[in-house]
Structure formats: C-alpha cells, structure tokens
C-alpha cells in the first residue's frame, strides 16, 4: 500500500516472494523438530500438526495470488489493498492453527475472516458482489458473536482461558456434560458452522461465492473453510473432549444433512460457481463426518487424521476446479455452463485439467479424491458403531449423486455441440494460471497414487492429541 502507484506492479511480486519465503521458517522448524514448543503461557504452540497446516495455508495463499495476478490487473482494482487483505487473512489462519487459548483462537478466526468480508465485495459496482458481501458480513459477525458467547460461558464456568486448564477443570469438576458446557459447545459449533458453511448455516455461501471475484471465491472455499475446520478440530478435541458423545450426535446429523442437501441442490445448478459452492458444502459434510464419529467413539486421533487428510486433498483439487471454471467462464463469457459446449477442444490442456479435478472431486481413482474418501469411509466403518455405519451409507449414496453433476460439466465441455466457440477468439491461459494448474494437478495425482505421504499425518495427529 505504501508503494507509489507506478510501482503497483511490484506489489504482486513482493506478495508472492513474501509468501514463499515464509515457508522457509516452517521447513526449518520441521527439520529441527523435537517436541512441541509452547509460548505465551501455553496459549501458542508449535507442533507438527500446526506446521503442516501452516504449510497448507501458505501454499493455498500462494496459489491464490497466482490466480489473482491477471485478474486484478485486468480490471483496475486496488492492488496493494487486495494483497494486504489476503495476507492478513493468511496471518489469521496461521494463528488459528497454533492457538491454544480462547482469546488467541478468537483473534485468529476473526483476523482470517474479516478481510474476506471486504474481499468478497471487491467488485464494487456489481450488485451481486455487494449482496454477497453484506450477507457474508452479517452472518459472519453473527457467527463471531455466537462463538464468543460460547467462550464467555466457558470462562464463566472455569475462570480459565487456556484450553488445557479449561478441559482439566471441566474434568475435575465433572462438568463435562453439564448443560452449560453443552450450550457452549452448541454455540461454538453453530458459530464455526457458518465459517465452514455446513447445513443449516450455509445459506450465505452460494451468493457470496457467486458475487466475489473468482480467486477470492477459491480462497473462501478452500482456505477459509480449512481455517474453520482447524478451529473446530482444536476446540472440540482440546476443550470439549469430555462431552464428545453429545456433540458427536449433533455433528453426525449436521454432516449427513450437509452432504445430502449440498448434493441435491448442486444437481440443479447451471452456474458453475454456484455448483462448486454447493459441491463444497457437500464436501464439508464428508470432512466433518470423521470428527463427528470420533466424538462418539472417543478415537479422536483417527478422526483428526481422516478429516485433515480429506481437507488437504480437497483444498488442492477444489482450487484446481475453480481455476478451470475461471478459465472457461472467461473464454465463453457465460455463467451458464450448459453453454460451454465443446470448449475443451479449444484448449485440450484446460479440458484435461478440468476433467481431472472434477473426477477427483467425485472420488475416482487414481486421482487424489479417492484416497480422501477412503480414509473417511474407513474411519466411519472402522468405528464399528451403528451410527458410523449409517453415516457411511449416507456418504456412499451421496458419492454417487455427486458423480452426476461432476461428470456433467466434463461431459459438456468435451462432448456437447460447440455453441459459444468463436474460432477467432483466443483462449486465455496465462502462465501464472498454468503454474497453478500444473501444481494442483501434480498434488492431485501424487496424493492418489502415493497416499503413503499422508501416513505422516497419522503420526502427526497422534502428536497433536498427545500434548
């Protein structure tokens, strides 16, 4: 922001480099890792779990920057502020993944989401963008106050702010299943439910996604969602671990509803962004399922592993899916994907990328999505619990429904008769976008073919839960 207008061009380069450099300390931390490091009177922790998630957040932001470069330049938007706000949101996400007390996690969540209110309204002249922003804002602040009220109840019960002290207090005073703790858990779940857009707190998501600039939408559906999930995982397992059987049931219901409703509505969409919005709602149901079941069975380690694995794979393939939508809607100039007949022939590379991402979201091997589904179903069926198996059945049915609309987009772009193809018009596929495409495709393939890399996470989630 402080740079003069002429040098605005460098802002993007600075942001990109800065993000990349911030990976360096993470690598060093990982290499020198021995045991969790606590700071600020146990309210901030650096462990493997947080290092991995920070790596994820930084990479996502980096890819979002790459997505944004051409977009921001093309429309004469404010550049400095744009990158500044995204970086603030990244900072919030990083704080969340390390936080171990009520205040830090709250500041992290707010820091991650407040800039997004502004970014989602970035297209100031567009009514849809305004509408999406105000809905997002009002519900976002409502969710913040719900979370806060939950926190204040916890504080009122225990007089503590640090998670470990709260949970030990709740255990020693055998308050874990008292109504106030449950109320506070429900408030926290519904507050974060807005952030991760699960049913019935999802209504803002499609409108906001549609109105926001596409890179911002990609970031919202990936990074903001991931931040919410990380906060939820930390709170549920660190604070409310004792009352798992109660919130487990609530989350199971939410998860089943989210998968089903998200899918059914996605089936009827013709706008690709709204379709992805509903599909990511339904995917959130899958991410939530293992945590929900782990609440009932008490095997948090397994639940965290499955959810985080799904989250990481989902992040990259969904980012890729948004990239493909960005490319094709730019080219076809239409927000109805039924009019994209045969556009893949114009750029087979973009067509193949799209097919890969959408098939991966549908869970077809050898693409990454199948492994994500595998770990989730494994933890559901492995719970040997009738509720878990029932949720698994709901998930399986939804996996089939989802295939219908994922396959539909790639059907349209490859097979339908060309309508909007203009031979003269050049297909814009700029280099930064190619980097994003290739990077996400690589991750999608690697995570499907060598899922062994995720076995680290198994170990990591045990470390997370052990400390």
């Amino acid at each position: 922001m402080i740079l003069p207008r002429k040098s605005k061009y460098y802002v993007a380069a600075f942001a990109l480099l800065g993000t990349l450099f911030s990976l360096a300390p993470l690598v060093i931390q990982w290499a020198n890792y021995t045991s969790p490091i606590y700071a600020f009177e146990n309210s901030f922790v650096v462990d493997k779990f947080s290092i991995i998630l920070k790596g994820l957040f930084i990479l996502i932001t980096y890819l979002t920057f790459l997505l944004s470069i051409n977009f921001i330049e093309s429309d004469k938007y404010y550049q400095g502020e744009y990158y500044y706000l995204l970086l603030s949101s990244l900072l919030g996400a990083l704080i969340v993944s390390s936080s171990r007390d009520l205040l830090t996690i709250f500041i992290g969540i707010e820091l991650a989401s407040t800039p997004m209110f502004l970014l989602s309204g970035w297209k100031k002249g567009d009514r849809k963008s305004n509408e999406g922003a105000i809905k997002f804002f009002l519900l976002g602040v409502l969710s913040a106050s719900l979370i806060l009220y939950g926190f204040s109840l916890l504080y009122g019960l225990s007089g503590k702010l640090v998670f470990s002290e709260i949970s030990s207090h709740l255990l020693s005073a055998s308050l874990a299943n008292s109504p106030v703790v449950l109320l506070s858990a429900i408030l926290v779940i519904s507050g974060i439910g807005f952030k991760i857009s699960v049913v019935p707190f999802h209504s803002w998501a499609p409108d906001t996604y549609e109105g926001a600039p596409l890179p911002v939408t990609a970031y919202l559906s990936v990074s903001s969602k991931a931040t919410g999930f990380v906060a939820l995982i930390i709170l549920l397992t660190k604070v409310f671990a004792g009352s798992g059987s109660s919130w487990g049931i609530i989350l199971v219901i939410i998860s089943g509803l989210t998968m089903t409703l998200g899918n059914l509505v996605a089936l009827q969409q013709n706008n690709p962004v709204r379709l992805l919005a509903y599909s990511s709602i339904s995917q959130a149901g899958f991410i939530l399922a293992p945590i929900a079941i782990s609440g009932i069975t008490g095997d948090y380690q397994d639940g965290i592993f499955a959810s985080v694995t799904y989250l990481i794979i989902y992040a990259f393939m969904n980012l890729g899916a948004f990239l493909s939508v960005h490319l094709f809607s730019n080219y076809a100039g239409s927000t109805n994907f039924y009019e994209w007949g045969g556009v893949a022939r114009k750029s087979p590379l973009a067509g193949v990328l799209t097919t890969v991402f959408f098939f991966s979201l549908a869970g077809i091997p050898p693409l990454g999505g199948w492994f994500a589904k595998f770990v989730v179903f494994r933890s559901l069926l492995g719970s040997a619990n009738s509720i878990g198996i029932a949720l698994g059945v709901v998930g399986a049915i939804n996996a089939v429904i989802a295939l219908v609309y994922y396959a539909r987009i790639s059907k349209v772009i490859w097979m339908d008769e060309p309508k909007s193809i203009n031979e003269e018009k050049i297909f814009q596929f700029e280099n930064p976008l190619k980097v994003v495409g290739v990077f996400t495709v690589l991750i999608t393939f690697v995570s499907g073919i060598f899922p062994g890399i995720f076995s680290y996470l198994g170990e990591v989630s045990s470390i997370f839960f052990g400390n």
């Binding site: 922003a133 105000i134 009122g156 007089g159």
Partner: protein
C-alpha cells in the same frame, strides 16, 4: 433487600444476547441488524466481566478489550460495505438485495 450476585449479571447478559439474536433474525434493515450484533457482543462482554469479577481475575477483562477491538474493526468493515451498497440503491434494507436466489 436482594443481594445482586454474579448470577444476576449472567442472566442479564443471556437476555441481552437473546434479544440481539432474535433481532438479528427478525429485522431486515442492515443497520438495525448491525446494532443487534453490537448488543450480542456487549452481552458477551458483560459475561466476561462479571465472571472475571467473580473469580477475582484479570483475564476476563483483558478478553473484553480484545472483543472491543475486534468489534470496532468489524464495524469499520461492515459500515464500509453498507455505505457502498447505500450509494448504489439508497436503501439499507436487505430485502432489496435479492439479485441471486437459489
């Protein structure tokens, strides 16, 4: 005479929070919804302060400062969005905002 215990404050804050919450659900004007949110946040502050007083600790009061700062930041962001909408359609009711449905 009644003695005003911590419970009273907690009940008051619960009532305030509920009023704010229902106002949020019922009212359609963005500014009024905004005020409802402020009400809810202040209910939270009241809980923190009374609990802090109850335990004789300072933690809760520190929390209130953080909440105030965050609330102020959100007011700024929210008013910016509302103003930008107001410029375009000179109304702050969310009912006019119905371009996208579904």
């Amino acid at each position: 005479m009644f003695e005003v215990t911590t419970d009273w404050y907690l009940t008051l804050s619960a009532i305030l929070f509920s009023i704010g919450f229902f106002g949020m659900m019922i009212r359609k004007n963005a500014l009024i919804m905004f005020m409802c949110i402020e009400l809810m946040l202040n209910a939270v502050n009241l809980t923190f302060i009374s609990a802090s007083k109850h335990f004789g600790q300072i933690d809760g009061q520190i929390a209130v400062f953080f909440v105030l700062v965050v609330a102020a930041a959100e007011v700024v962001v929210g008013l910016a969005i509302i103003v930008s909408i107001f410029r375009k359609q000179s109304s702050a009711s969310v009912d006019v905002l119905n371009v996208s449905r579904g």
